[in-house]
């Protein structure tokens, strides 16, 4: 590769970063979209993102874009896929490296109000028409999230520090879009050794309080 070309001599594409920030609110899986102020696709919804800077890595750039857009930091980010269809941006050649990000509801509460007309969460079941090829990117991201639930601890990114097993099960049910058996779910999740118990939780209704758990590690781990 790169047999001594002067790399500056050739046309170069632009490289963008797009971030798919998923969260769970109101018992629904939601994703952050921003309304575009400019052409192309003015007035349409798109993922937050922007161009990569010359001196930052892709992951740092994705984190920066997300922070600029939402104020969120220290959240889970992973590279999803790179979309490079030459016509995906009508202006010029733009290659987009998409990132998957996850936030707990409580993280987001900090910022949810400030910029509401420009950026908001949308339930994934009711998305508006998306700009560029973002519909395709969305579908890829949703599918990745669903499969990673099954063989990693990725759910830690969507839950607060402490949570009940029922809340964890709800997270799985919402993303996988199907009901799970309570006893089997508990047996399986506890057998993974990903969780550790903390104390008791009361409030939250006229019923028996639930035990609180926490993920032992908040970095991604693969089962088996």
């Amino acid at each position: 590769m790169m047999k001594g070309y002067d790399v500056t001599k050739y046309d170069r594409p632009s490289v963008a970063l797009d971030v798919l920030l998923f969260t769970i609110q109101e018992n629904q899986l939601q994703i952050l979209l921003v309304k575009r102020k400019e052409e192309p696709f003015q007035g349409e919804w798109a993922f937050p993102g922007g161009f990569v800077k010359m001196n930052e890595s892709l992951e740092v750039g994705a984190a920066r874009e997300l922070r600029e857009e939402t104020g969120l930091k220290d959240i889970y980010l992973e590279q999803l896929y790179t979309f490079g269809n030459p016509k995906r941006d009508p202006r010029t050649r733009v290659i987009s490296v998409a990132y998957l990000a996850l936030a707990a509801k409580t993280d987001w509460a900090i910022k949810a109000s400030t910029d509401a007309s420009e950026a908001k969460f949308w339930p994934v079941s009711k998305l508006p028409k998306l700009a560029f090829d973002h519909q395709e990117i969305f579908e890829y991201g949703l599918s990745r999230l669903g499969s990673k639930l099954n063989y990693t601890n990725i759910a830690f990114g969507l839950l607060p520090d402490q949570f009940t097993l029922t809340e964890l099960q709800n997270t799985y049910e919402i993303i996988l879009n199907k009901k799970l058996d309570k006893r089997n779910f508990r047996k399986k999740i506890l057998s993974t050794d990903l969780l550790t118990s903390v104390g008791q939780k009361s409030s939250l209704g006229a019923h028996r309080p639930a035990e609180l758990f926490r993920f032992k590690k908040k970095e991604i781990e693969y089962l088996n």
Copy 2:
């Protein structure tokens, strides 16, 4: 994203494509490397690749690079990951989209001789020092290949059109780097419904001839 910037105003990184072409030869997993003729890393070994053209998609570009380097076409290609550390190329900012490619030994026989001093297959267990961050890219690709064996039909990319179950098992053993039980392997692979029988094979030694099989589909399929 892209709030009406004039995208041509900003510095842009270069975007390269690198292709990890795996094959099996002499009972070993091998990977294609080319010797660099120019700086940087002159004389060192690297993956075949080059810069993406303005009017081709990433996958088409990766296929083109591979064809230019080896003459191979119509082989399995999948995007692996995008490597974007700002210092990964000492000349300038180069973001590399890495692709995983697989070829059967017979495919390669066509070309193996022509350019031998510049491009050759290396057993993955005995790689030379690699240029750029290609060691890291290699490790990522090898790991991806191993895990995809377990939940897809990706082995079709490494085998000729027809093959025996023993040859298929050898492929798995070489990549996973462990022995598998013959009866269990056959039971499992036949239960997937990925294969179909064709006829009988003789030759190849003084022993009972083996049944030949073929993958029903030569596009990637996921189990379950």
